[in-house]
Symmetry: C2
């Protein structure tokens, strides 16, 4: 069992580990640094995460995955007007601009995400919830006659989401939100257009 104190320690470790990853990246992620930052000892780490580093990384991934979508609310859950789509767009840009050059999720996605099935599941789950929220928004707009009715909602959401991920990747690499904004605007532009001529 876990007492209240244990609970606190555990979450302090997860939060500290998340910060550590944000600052140094997964490659440079050392248990020792987490210990120093959170004022805990080896035995504590392995007490709360018996499977060690991998399990801790997974806990961090879950922790961060929740934040990603939460930070986009309430816009993401109510994409029923063009105004809310644009507010969502701005929020995404803002969120990632703040987070700057490090996004724990994207990192996990590129690394552990490929390896361990657990982390893979976390990432996949996050992405499918995200995509579904976008697709729901597309359907709403189409029903209201405000969005290109020829679009397949799921496919459009997938394309837009890919743009966001790619944009974040550019942000992480060159530290500029330009590509992220361009991808969002291009994607929204495609959705807005009422007809194609090809």
């Amino acid at each position: 069992m876990l007492t209240r104190k244990g609970e606190q320690t555990r979450s302090r470790i997860v939060a500290g580990a998340a910060d550590e990853i944000r600052e140094r990246g997964v490659d440079e992620f050392r248990l020792e640094d987490v210990m120093a930052r959170t004022r805990t000892s080896k035995s504590q780490l392995f007490h709360y995460f018996p499977d060690g580093k991998e399990q801790l990384l997974l806990a961090v991934a879950r922790h961060e995955a929740d934040r990603v979508l939460a930070d986009q609310q309430p816009m993401l859950g109510d994409l029923t007007t063009w105004e809310s789509w644009h507010r969502w767009r701005d929020r995404v840009v803002e969120r990632y601009r703040e987070q700057g050059t490090d996004c724990p999720m994207s990192i996990v996605l590129g690394h552990a995400g490929r390896r361990t099935p657990g982390a893979q599941a976390v990432v996949t789950g996050l992405m499918s919830r995200w995509q579904e929220a976008l697709a729901t928004g597309v359907r709403h707009m189409q029903a209201a006659g405000e969005m290109n009715p020829e679009l397949d909602p799921g496919r459009a959401a997938a394309g837009l989401l890919a743009g966001v991920q790619g944009g974040v990747l550019f942000l992480l690499t060159i530290g500029d939100t330009g590509h992220l904004e361009a991808a969002l605007d291009l994607g929204l532009g495609a959705m807005r257009s009422q007809r194609n001529d090809s």
Copy 2:
């Protein structure tokens, strides 16, 4: 200086290292594995790459960066008709589908790309050449009256490229080209549309 034999050994090492990264990822990249695969010894590695692992990784990055654009030719250099844009699109999808679950560039981009300025430069250079090729194509099409004249060519290219990168990221993570195709189609759709109503 480098004799012919030395040249051969050196490129054998780079090629072997690239394969190794493709198969196991950067995290699992061990000099020992490269040695085994290329039948070379430690002293050879450090003879041709005195700065060790980092320098070898950089050489691999350069090697792969060249391939990325070369594999998109001749389409990428001649985006003057819708037909060539679509052939380019198909080529990109095809190329990455073949490459499957591992793309040395995307990996380097996420990892070393952030750390060493050298790798950063390689990635940035690749992306800007890529983006410029796309932008040139957009300008051509606009001049021919075949593409939405309101688009900023550079910005549209940036958005499309972000979509490609994000799509590849999805491919690497979940092993499916759906997002890549969706992003390309969404981006091309935005370019194709002749007018917006907002």
